[in-house]
C-alpha cells in the first residue's frame, strides 16, 4: 500500500512546535503587526534605561512645558522633565508587573478551573458560585481597598492583580476541561487505574493548555489597562518613577496647551494593549481556537 503523503509528518520537538506557531502567527498581517508591536515594547523595556537621553527625574523649572524640538523630541512636562525619556521608561513597570500578574492568574485560574471541571458536582457548583460572586464585585474598588490597606509595593500588586484577573481564566479552564472530561480517553485512563494526578497531567492539560494560554494572553492586555487605571488614580506606581498611567493623569489638565505631555504616554499604552490583543488573537488562530466560542474551529 502506498503511504499517503499527508500522513508523513514527523514528530516535532517543542522548539519546532513553538517556532511553527510563531511563524503561523506572523504570516497574517494582523498577527505580524501585533507581534512587532509587542516585541518592540519588550525590547524597549529592556534597553530603555541605557538609551534614555536624560535623567527621568531631573527637574528643571526653566524648561517647563517645552514643545517638542530637536533636543526634546516629545517636549517636556510641567516639571521640565524630558517626556521622551519618561515615555520609553514608562512601560517597564507596567509590563513587568502585569506579566507576572498574568502568570499568577494563569496558574491559579487554570488549576482551579481544571480541578472544578474534573471533580464536577457539588464542589464545582460551590466554587463557581464563589467565582461568580467575585466577578460581580467591581474590581477597581476591591483593588483600591487592598492597595490602601497593604500599600502599592510590587509584592502586593502582582498577587492582587493576578487574583482578580484569574477569575475569567477559571471559567475558560473549567469549560475546556468539561469538554475533555467526557471523552472516552479519560474514561479509558480511569478504567486502567491511572491516578488523578496522572490524568490531569497527561490527559487533560495537553488538551486544555491552548485555550488557557490564549485566555491568559487576553487577560494580560486587560490587566495592563487595569494597572494603568490604578496608576492614573494614584494607586499604582509611586512618583517619580515614570509610568504611563501616572503621566496621563499628571498631564491631562494641561491638555489644552501642552498636548505632547499626554499624547506620548497614551500612544505608548494603547499601542502596547493593541499589540498584545492582536498577538493573542493571532495566537488563538494559529492554535485553531475560535475565541468567540472558545472551541477549536
Amino acid at each position: 500500500m502506498k503511504v499517503n503523503s499527508i500522513y508523513k509528518e514527523e514528530k516535532k520537538s517543542a522548539f519546532q512546535k513553538v517556532s511553527e506557531v510563531i511563524i503561523t502567527m506572523a504570516s497574517r498581517p494582523s498577527g505580524f503587526i501585533g507581534l512587532s508591536i509587542l516585541v518592540f515594547h519588550i525590547i524597549l523595556a529592556f534597553i530603555s534605561p541605557y538609551i534614555a537621553p536624560y535623567d527621568f527625574k531631573a527637574i528643571n523649572p526653566t524648561l517647563m512645558l517645552q514643545a517638542p524640538s530637536a533636543e526634546y523630541w516629545f517636549g517636556t512636562d510641567d516639571l521640565g522633565r524630558d517626556v521622551f525619556t519618561r515615555t520609553i521608561l514608562g512601560g517597564r513597570t507596567a509590563l513587568t508587573i502585569t506579566f507576572f500578574g498574568s502568570l499568577i492568574a494563569l496558574l491559579w485560574g487554570g488549576l482551579l478551573g481544571i480541578f472544578c471541571g474534573l471533580v464536577g458536582g457539588k464542589i464545582d457548583d460551590i466554587v463557581m458560585r464563589i467565582v461568580d460572586a467575585f466577578l460581580s464585585i467591581p474590581w477597581i474598588l476591591a483593588m483600591l481597598l487592598i492597595v490602601s490597606l497593604l500599600g502599592t509595593s510590587t509584592e502586593v500588586l502582582i498577587p492582587a492583580l493576578g487574583f482578580f484577573y484569574g477569575k475569567g481564566i477559571v471559567r475558560v479552564a473549567r469549560a475546556a476541561t468539561h469538554d475533555v472530561i467526557a471523552k472516552d480517553f479519560i474514561v479509558s485512563a480511569r478504567a486502567r487505574g491511572h491516578s488523578n494526578f496522572s490524568i490531569i497531567w497527561n490527559e487533560i492539560i495537553p488538551n486544555v493548555r491552548d485555550a488557557i494560554l490564549v485566555e491568559g494572553a487576553m487577560r494580560w492586555s486587560w490587566m495592563l489597562l487595569g494597572f494603568s487605571s490604578l496608576s492614573f488614580l494614584g494607586f499604582g506606581v509611586s512618583p517619580p518613577t515614570p509610568d504611563w498611567g501616572l503621566m496621563i493623569s499628571n498631564a491631562r489638565g494641561l491638555m489644552s496647551f501642552a498636548y505632547w505631555a499626554v499624547i506620548a504616554p497614551i500612544v505608548g499604552l494603547s499601542s502596547l494593549i493593541i499589540g498584545i490583543n492582536l498577538t493573542a488573537d493571532a495566537f488563538a488562530k494559529a492554535l485553531g481556537i475560535d475565541r468567540s466560542t472558545k472551541a477549536p474551529v
Partner: protein, 674 residues
Amino acid sequence: MSDIIQKVKNLSIGFKSKKGEEILILKNISTKIKKGETVGIVGESGSGKSTLALAMMGYVKHGLYTIGGECEFNSSNLLNMKSKDLEKIRGRKIAMIPQNAGQALTPNLKIGYQIDEALQLHSDLSEKEREKKISELLNKVRLPSPETIALRYPHELSGGQQQRVAVAMALAGTPDLLLLDEPTTGLDVTTQAHVLELLNFIAKDTGTSMVYVSHDLGAIAQVSDRIIVMYSGEIVLEGPSRDILKRPIHPYTHGLLKSIPKLSLAGLPESMPGSQPQPGIIQSGCSFFDRCNFSEDKCKNNSPQLEFLKELNTSVRCFNYEKLLKESQFNQNVNKIKNNSNDKEILNLSEVSISYAKQKLLDQIFNRISDDNPTVKDININIKKGETIALVGESGSGKSTILKSIAGLLRTKDGLIRFDENRNLSSDLKERNPNDLRIIQLIFQNPDESLNPNHTVEEIIAQPLKLYFGLKGEELNKNIIDLLQKVRLGEFYMSRYPRQLSGGEKQRVAVARAFAAKPDIILCDEVTSALDVSVQAAVLNLLQQLKEDFGTTYIFVSHDLAVVRAISDRVAVLYQGRLCEVGPSNDVYKFPSHPYTEVLLGAVLEPDPDIKPKLVAEDIVEEKPPEKGCSFQGRCSRIVGDICKKEIPPWQLTDSGNAIRCHIPIKELQKEQF
C-alpha cells in the same frame, strides 16, 4: 417537459490547500435524476457524497468552491444563481433533510409552530389552510394523533418521531426533489427500518424524486431505484439498484459487498485491505489501485474513464470490469470463526442490578443504593474463557451500562461479579487493585474520542505498558513495536498523532492499547460502528485473530445484529436492562425466539433488494422499564394478556440450549409471526 429533474454536468468542486494547491473533492461528476426516481448515493466518509448532494441544491460548503461544471435544475444552473433566486427554489422545489435533522429542530418551539413556519416560508396558504395542512403532513409521516403531536416540544418526541417531523417539514413546500443526507444514521435499528419504509411510501405517494445519501448499503438497498457508488470523489459505478447489489461489476463495490456481514451467513466476511486515499494525494492511475484485487499494471498509471454499458444500463469506471461481468453469480465467502472457548468460567454475573438513580442522603450515609426499578436488573450470565459473548439491544437497553460495571466504572446496586470463580469484582475502581484493573480492558466505539489527540501512537500504547509492567527504555520500545505489528501497523506509526491516522488505523491503535495490558477479558463497546464499512471487516478479522492467538475473552456490545452474527459465539439480548434471551448465536438467530429478538432480526437492513425488513412492533421508545411483569410488554405484539403485565416471565430452555424469557411456551414461539 423532460422527465429529467436534475442534471449534473462535469461538476468539479475543491479547495485550496495551505500550500496553494487545488485539491479536488469531486472530480468531473455527471449524472441525471429523473422525475419520481429515488437515487441512492453511497460511499465511505470522505468520498464526496454529501458535497454532491449539497451541490444539487446549489450549495457549496464554506471553504470549498466550484472549479467547473453545472448543476441544472429545471434547466437553470443552480451554482451560478443569485441567492435571491436560490431562496425561491430551496425549500419549495428542492428540500433537504440533513443528518440528524430531528435533533436540529428548535428545542423551545412546538412542533406545530415549526411546521407552520416552514409552510409560511414555502407556500402561499392562508392560516386556515395551513392549520389543515399541518395535521395532513403529520398524518402523512404517520405520526400518531397529529393534533397532540403538533402541541409537543421536540424533546418530548423520540428520535424516530423527530426524524418524521423533519420529513414533514421538508414536505411542507411540496418539493419536486428531496435530498436526504444519512437520514437514518444514528437511529435505532427498528426505528431506521420504520423511517425507511415511510420514505418509500412517500416517494410512491407523492412522486417526489429523492436523492438518498448514505454510507450504509443496507439502507440504500431498501429505498433506491438506482445507485451511484462514489469513491475518492469519483463515480465508480452507477446503475439500477438490483444489478449493482446482485452483480457488482466494479471491484470496489464487489469487495464492499463481500465485506458486509449478513444475517444468513455465520462467520467473518473477507476484508478489503487499506483505506480510501485522502483527497489531494496526487495520483495518476485508478484511485482504487492500492486496494484492488483485479488490478493490472496499466491501472497504476492510467485513469479509467466512466464507461456506459448500454445492455446493462450501467456506468462503470474500471479497465477490468469484464472479469467481474463474467463471474456468473456473486458469492460471498465467510471464514467460520473458531470457537476456542473452554469450559472454564472466567466471568460470572449473578443477579446484577445497576442504578443511575440519585441517591438519598440516608442511603449515601449507609453507602447503599436503593432503587426499585433500576436501569439494569437481574443479569445472570456465565462467561467462559475464550468465548465471544455479544450483548445486543437497542439504544438505551443498558449494554454500555453493564460493560461499565464490569470495568469498575460504575458501582453495581446488587449482585455479584466474579472473575475466575473466586475473585470478587463487584466493587468499583477505587476498591480494585491494579491487577483487577489490568485483566479487564475496554475498547470504545469512537477512536476519535478514545485516543488523546495530543498523544502520539507511541505514547498511547506506552501508557498501559508503563502503568502495569513498569517498562522503560529499550524494552518499552520493543514492546510497542511488537504490539503495532500485531495490529498490522508498521513501526513508523509510532510518531504519528491520531489525526494523522484513518478511522481503521485509529481503531487498531485502540486495540493495541487494550492488548498491551495482557488482559484476560476485553470489553468491546460498538467497536466497529464508527468505522467505514470497508474497514469494518478488517477490524473484526483482526480482533478474531488476536483472540485466537491470545485466548482472550470478548464481551462484544453492538446494535448491529449482522456484525454480532459474524463474530460471536453466544448472544445475550437485552431490552430495557433486562435479559430476554441468551444462547449460542446459531440458535438465537433461528426460531424459536423471544418476541423482541424477532423484532430486532426483522428490522435488520441487508444490502439485498430481495430481503425487506419485517416491521413487527411499533418503533416507540420507552423511557423507563415497566415496574412489573415482562420488560417488553409495552411493545410486544404477541402479548398474552394480564400475566405479561404482572408476572416476570420464566426462563425457558429450548432443545439447543437457548434460554428464552417469555410467558409464551416454546412451542408457540416456534411459529413465525410473519
